[in-house]
Amino acid sequence: MTQAAALTRRRRLPASRLLFTALALGVGALSVLPLFYLVMRALEAEPAQVVDLILRPRTGWLLINTAALTLGVLALTTLIALPLAWLVSRTDLRGRRAVNVLAVLPLAVPGYVMAYALIGLSGDYGFLSEIFGVTLPRPHGWLGATLALSLYTFPYLYLNLRAALSGFDASLEESARALGSTPREVFTRVTLPHLLPALLAGWLVIGLYVIGDFGAVALMRFDVFSLVIYTQYSAAFDRVYASWLALILIAIALSVVWWESRLREGAHYARTGSGAGAGPQRFTLGGRGQILGWAFVSLVVLASIGLPVAVLSFWMTRGELASTLPDLIASFLQSLSIAVPSAVLAALMAIPVAVLAVRYPSPLSTLVNRLAFVGYAVPPLAFALAFVFFALQGARFLYQTHLLLVVVYALAFLALALGPIRSALYQARPSLEEASRALGQGPFATFRRVTLPMIRPGVVAGMVLVFVIAMKELPIAFLLAPVGFRPLAITMFSRTSEGLLMEAAPYAGAIIAFSAVFVGVVLRHDRKAGG
């Protein structure tokens, strides 16, 4: 059998696969490596000191505050998003198509702009007192932060719930009715359990956002982890304490991700039967129902869109727009100078990771794809802090450079670019690549001439997402911005925190206008997904 043994050959990996694996591993390593520097910096403390740092009452307060803020935002967003999603997808509410757009639009108002709007609304010289003569106390602390974050993030939950509700098989509810349940029982015993995966998915996005948010909590002066990390790092210069807080924050974020995936495993409710499944039946609201429904919709829209628009217009008309225009344009160009290369780099990084996942699935590719989500799951301030330490100790030449900021943006938003590129690759049939190989084209020529042109729409969509997010990003820029770098978000934020509401208004307006593009992309994607 020696001949047979000689004929049995070891499988060699082709060069193209090796290259994609190496590139993807490089990207994965790059998103994790700096976290080691964070750990190293934290370990500089003596053990006794560590115990003191972690067990100090302040840390406990921060935990409680963070938990209270997260729970508050989750509760408020659910109260807003669940009725809204039900009204749009399960009732005959008039104009529900318009409501659908209005419900997603608040995504265009970042948390710190929403906080700005809430602050600018009230106070002695605020919108309400000048226009209506009513002076409200300026919101701050837990209430202010909860309001600002909820009014901005509820669309994430809304999108998930609406998709679940409109894809829901009505025959399940009808069976429950036929088995003798009242409508109320049907909702609690059949509908609600089926919404659980959508709720969890929405809560995960919002939870991670709240844990990582910096702008809104800073403007509302509510002591949670990210705000204190920043003040410890930049004002108190206590970098060891900042590192420990960052590590705790990362642990919280990762445990949220873990819990969500555990809970979701337990809640798997695919339809088991065959057949197309009946579409959802719409609930007839009647005259009073229509009025009540629209009252609710109006309240939500007024608070989430009307408020920032009105307050911004108010403050903008107070200032002289023309005189601020040159500064505004300069600031805009600075934002652009970071956002464009970040988008390109993120797409370049996402391509090998996506190719590895789709074309060469293996335990290694799964690992690399998990690593690609690290930048998304780790709160931005902690992520940025890790890169500060990495630059200070491992790559001094990078510290306070545009390049470092671009790399960190690309890694932080890699997951956003990865989504559309990966789905484009899934749609590009492998037989097309094989046809090119059979026509004499090598793996690299095939990638350039066939794969790349076919996934181009996905690459462009990924770049647009990263670009728009990077245009309005605040906390990472705050920690990593080179000296003199004043993009839109930083300028607007620092003016607001100094109480210069009038001077901040044009920047906030520019950010909102820009973010509307992002919402447009989300809505289009949503419609294509069959919304």
Partner: protein, 362 residues
């Protein structure tokens, strides 16, 4: 029809079936020796041991039920699947370890795999990068003319019908003049009427281009109509290889006898060139001894109405050019095909008569 000489002069290979149906043509193009491929996971079918050889310009069909490993075999020849063991030689050169692009073998995919971002002409030009721009253009136009799609160069693939897409795929493959073209279930995406028309068209195109081709199919009718020779594959092994006539007239096993056409399998005792069966002593197509299974084609049986006959008609299907009868004789149900003439009603008693050489199976 067969412009090219096919399989001339055979030698008996070492591990051939006792009947010597594994033929090696003199001017060998492709030799496949002991190919094996197993998968740890996934639904791709395993290949146990596949060996065959084919000549220049020959059309060979790999025929077998789904899951028999025929597509896996084709993908190994094309270079998209690496064999666990075995060798593939093209014109005497070992290509087993070469990547697909270095083999010079064309591949027409089941879904045609036309590039959606290129128009028809650009698709056909895709593999012609070695040529100059003008030469490539001329060659592409020539290929489009060959497949009868001359005016459609500027169309996008999705603007073509299924049959047109397939012809573009064929033109694209033939443009680089490969000595061998592999076709994976090429007609499965066409409707029944198109299929019959297209397969003679494809046969003509391949013959005109002088390319040899291996066609994978599970449709015996397609294999019989298109191929110069057929290799029947069962559970990852070639069980018989030969011309369509040979395979139909002399199947080696019950599997081949029932998979290509229909067969009644009856037991018998063979004694040289004869066998004793329930239908009396029958001449055999080849020598056999002892207890054997015997394949009797439905058209080899004649029905004679006889009120005292041992059998009864239990079913009948009129098919225009002939009719199908199911005849019950004791425990056994036989399938009989007779001409469209005399009609025998269901329930009538009949006598069965076999009037031809029958085939003993291994």
């Amino acid at each position: 029809m067969n412009e090219l000489p096919k399989s001339v002069g055979f030698k008996m290979p070492a591990e051939a079936s006792p009947l010597g149906f594994r033929q090696i043509p003199q001017k060998v193009l492709l030799e496949v020796e002991g190919l094996r491929r197993h998968f740890d996971e996934g639904d791709a079918a395993a290949v146990e041991r596949v060996s065959f050889a084919m000549g220049e310009g020959e059309l060979l069909a790999l025929l077998g039920p789904s899951g028999c490993g025929k597509t896996t075999t084709l993908r190994m020849i094309g270079g998209f699947e690496r064999p666990d063991a075995g060798t593939i030689r093209l014109r005497g050169r070992d290509i087993t370890d070469l990547p697909p692009e270095k083999r010079g073998i064309g591949f027409v995919f089941q879904d045609y795999a036309l590039f959606p971002h290129l128009d028809v002409l650009e698709n056909v030009k895709f593999g012609l990068r070695g040529l100059g721009r003008a030469a490539a253009e001329a060659r592409a136009h020539e290929m489009l003319r060959l497949v009868g799609l001359e005016g459609l160069g500027a169309r996008r693939p999705h603007e073509l019908s299924g049959g047109q897409q397939q012809r573009v795929a064929l033109a694209r493959t033939l443009a680089v003049a490969p000595p061998l073209v592999l076709l994976d279930e090429p007609f499965s995406n066409l409707d029944a009427a198109m299929r019959v028309e297209t397969r003679q068209e494809v046969r003509k195109l391949l013959k005109r281009a002088g390319s040899a081709a291996i066609l994978v199919t599970h449709d015996q009718e397609e294999a019989l109509a298109l191929a110069d020779r057929i290799a029947v594959i069962e559970a990852g092994r070639v069980v018989q290889i030969g011309t369509p006539d040979e395979i139909y007239l002399n199947p080696v096993s019950a599997f081949v006898a029932s998979f290509i056409g229909r067969s009644n399998i009856v037991p018998g005792t063979a004694n040289g060139m004869d066998a004793d069966t329930a239908f009396g002593r029958l001449p055999l197509s080849r020598a056999a001894n002892g207890k054997v299974s015997i394949a009797v084609r439905p058209e080899q049986i004649m029905l004679e109405p006889d009120p005292n006959g041992p059998a009864a008609v239990v079913g009948r299907e009129f098919r225009g050019h002939d009719q199908l009868y199911w005849v019950q004789e004791g425990e056994r149900c036989m399938l009989v095909i007779s001409g469209p003439g005399a009609q025998i009603d269901v329930g009538q008693r009949v006598r069965l008569r076999i009037c031809d050489c029958v085939v003993p199976l291994n």
